[in-house]
Every structure is written in C-alpha cells, then in structure tokens.
Amino acid sequence: MAGGKSLGSKMKIKLKRTGGFIPITKVAETEVNISDKELASLLVMIQPDPEAPRIKDGNYYELTTGTSSSPVDLEKVPDKYKALFSKLKSDLKIIK
C-alpha cells in the first residue's frame, strides 16, 4: 500500500469517516512507526466484508497512506492497534 518504507520508519496515515444521518466527512491524521509489511497485514485484517449489507445511515471509514486508500472496518481492529485507532477517531474533524 505505501511503498518504500523500511521497518520502523515513520509513516503518515489518514483516517477518513463518511456517511451518517447527514453525510459529513471527517478526517484525522497521525504518524506511526509501522512497516509496509505490517501495514499490509493490518489492512487485510480490517478490510470490510464485501458481502455485508449496508448499514442505513451508517458511518464508513477509509485509511489513506501515501496515495493509496482502503475502506476499513474499525470493529475488526486488533487489540494491538486499538489505541491508535481510538485516538484517530477522537481526533476526527469535520471538513466542509
């Protein structure tokens, strides 16, 4: 997903939230120490079930690293990354 990063280097990630009762977009960014391999593995673990029915008025999340974005299901975040995503969620700000 994010090419060229070596193990332990800092990487900027952006969480975007869309959807909801009124469709507003919120974003939060942070820098993390995570390798490409670890990130790729995380994205596989938290990818949404493509067969899952759409939640009416639900919020949807997308993770961006570099120029690449992937939809993510925050309910699937492993314990190791829960604090990171919890912080990102609490930092989400509305963008007009």
């Binding site: 869309t18 909801g20 009762f21 009124i22 469709p23 507003i24 759409r54 009416k56 008025d57 309910e75």
Partner: protein, 345 residues
C-alpha cells in the same frame, strides 16, 4: 321479482325496488371486490386498520456505556417490566419507539418493524460522542453527539421514527441503498419520521415546521433536514457549511456510488421525493398521516415497488394508490400530481 317491482305502476313501490336493487348491486360488487383483493389492498383501504386486537409493542433498550459493544451493553428498560429509568436518552427512545410502533399499528394495522411483532431493540450511548444514529438490520443505535455541533441523536422523535422506518422498508420493498432507490429509502424514513413526530405533537400540515432533527443539530437556526425547503436546514453553519439537499430534479446530484459519494447521494437527493411529499401533503391539508401518509404507506408496502425503483416509479405508484384510495379525479390525486410536478420529477 325485483325487476317486476321496479316497473310497477305504483311510483313508491318502484322507487323502493330501484333503491333495493342498487344497494344489492353495490353489496354484491363490494363483496366480489374484497374477495378478490389482496391483504395489501385491504390494508390500504383501511379495512384492517385501527386494530382492536391485543398485540402489544415489544421493546428493549440497552445502554452501551459509550463503548462499541452490543454484547456487553446493559439492559436499561424493557416493555415487559416497564421499569423506571433516569437516563434521558433511554427515556427519549422509549417515547420515540412507542410513538413509532403506535403510529404503524393504529393507522395501518402494522405490528412492528416486520409486521410480525418484532422486538424493537434500541441501543443508546453508543461509542464516545458518536454524532450519528443508524439501523443495522437488527437494531437502532444512537450516539450522544459530540456536544458542540450535535447533541444526542435521541433528542428528536423524527430521528427515531426515521431509523425504525428503515427497518420497515427493509421488510417491504427493501430498496437498494444507492442512487435513486437509496434516496427513496432515505425519503420514506424522513416521511414517516416526520409524520410520527407530527402525530405525537398533534400537528397538522400547517402547524408542522417539517424539520427533521431540529434539536439534534445544536443552534436555534439549524436542523438536519428540511422537507418543506430542502437545502435550507442549515445555512452557513460554522462547521457544516450549507445543507446540500436539492428540492427539484433539475438539481439532482450525480455523485459516485461509493462511501465518499454517499452511495450516489442517498442523503442528498432524498430532498427531491421529500419535497414532493411535503407539497402533496400540504395541498391535501389536515393531518399528513390521514391521507398523504396512507398513499405513501400503500406504495411502501406494494409488492410492485421494485428494489431498484427510481423517483418516477414512486411518482407513478403514488398516483395509482391515490386514485385507488380517493378516486381518479379526487383532490388527493391532484395534490399528489402537484407534489411531483413541483419537485420536477
């Protein structure tokens, strides 16, 4: 015998026979019509509405304690024990859930979300400051709001009615949640949500302000949506900007059918069928749920309403059902046509 009497020289006897023959004809044709009509048709004609049966609402309310875990949520209230609670959000969803169940039961004889007495499950205080409410296919879920832009999403009965109606729609036409079908899905939820609030407050079409979520969005000038004037629910809001909903088809927004595009603008283009309903209901007058509501409910529960229906399909069905319920050239049919005309559909 009756034919002979109708031709009787005695005018009184002949008149009586003609009258009897006419009544008898009406009775026979009514009986044939109702024998041949479907359960859906009998329901929309009000024959099984205003139930006198003993069905009662089944509801449970859970407190998520600001976590995102349904399994460990604690039971706050249930309709079996009807215990007293102090949680404001809990009280709000009990009130809204009861008003919604009562609306569907008393007016349409519909027993809960699935018309089979489904247990209504509502979860409050979900997540930390979640500024949203949703229906996930099994339950209604409400956040407390962030406290600065939004307050609790349980604050408005129309929002609760909106979410419950998503469940009703899922059990009826199950409209796709994308593009025009998705906008209709949203619109049915707004339409029934506003009528549930209007009925709860005893507001007719003139007294209602036709605003959805007027308490949820903080500030006296703001609401989440306006059915009377889509695009004006919030204007120049410091955080949200201006309400993006169009009121007419020429302003339809072709957005991408993905997460970022609100799946083709389901919450945006719903302003168009919302506006059509508002104009129709307003022009009919009185209480929206008495006539316009019956027409739109007949459409929502009509097996002919396809999962991928578009605005024109619903327009045509509302006209068909208005004609069936109120007569081909009735003021109600004219009002429905005016509604769609004003929305430029």
């Amino acid at each position: 015998m009756l034919t002979k009497l109708m031709e009787s020289g005695n005018k009184k006897i002949a008149d009586l026979a003609i009258n009897t023959n006419f009544r008898s004809f009406r009775f026979r044709s009514d009986r044939i019509f109702f024998q041949q009509s479907s359960l859906h048709e009998r329901t929309v004609l009000g024959l099984i509405a205003k139930q006198t049966g003993k069905e009662t609402m089944q509801m449970e309310v859970y407190d998520c304690k600001q976590k995102t875990d349904y399994i460990n949520a604690t039971l706050l209230w249930d309709s079996k024990t009807n215990q007293k609670i102090t949680s404001v959000a809990g009280k709000n969803v009990i009130k809204g859930g009861m008003a919604s169940w009562d609306f569907y039961w008393q007016l349409f004889g519909r027993n809960s979300i699935d018309n089979k007495g489904m247990l209504i499950k509502q979860y409050v205080h979900y997540d930390k400051g979640m500024d949203n409410a949703y229906w996930d296919g099994r339950r209604m879920v409400y956040g407390d709001g962030d406290g600065s832009v939004f307050t609790s999403f349980t604050s408005d009965i129309d929002v609760i009615g909106h979410e419950l109606t998503h469940g009703v729609t899922e059990n009826e036409a199950n409209l796709d949640y994308e593009n025009q079908a998705g906008a209709l899905n949203e619109s049915f939820s707004d339409i029934f949500g506003i009528m549930i609030k209007q009925r709860f407050n005893n507001h007719d079409v003139k007294k209602s302000n036709w605003l959805i979520g007027e308490k949820v969005l903080i500030g006296p000038k703001y609401a989440l949506r306006s059915m009377k004037a889509p695009g004006t629910a919030y204007v120049n809001h410091p955080e949200l900007g201006t309400d993006p909903q169009p009121a007419t088809m020429d302003k339809y927004q072709n957005l991408p059918d993905n997460q970022s595009g609100d799946f083709g603008g389901v919450h945006i283009n719903s302003g168009i069928p919302n506006f059509a309903f508002y104009v129709a209901a307003f022009n009919i007058g009185g209480y929206a749920w008495e006539k316009a509501g019956r027409i739109w409910y007949a459409v929502l529960t009509d097996p002919k309403l396809a999962q991928n229906a578009n605005f024109a399909d619903v327009k045509n069905l509302t006209i068909v059902h208005a004609e069936k319920l109120f007569g081909v050239s009735s003021p109600e049919v004219i009002a429905v046509k005016q509604g769609w005309q004003e929305a430029k559909v």
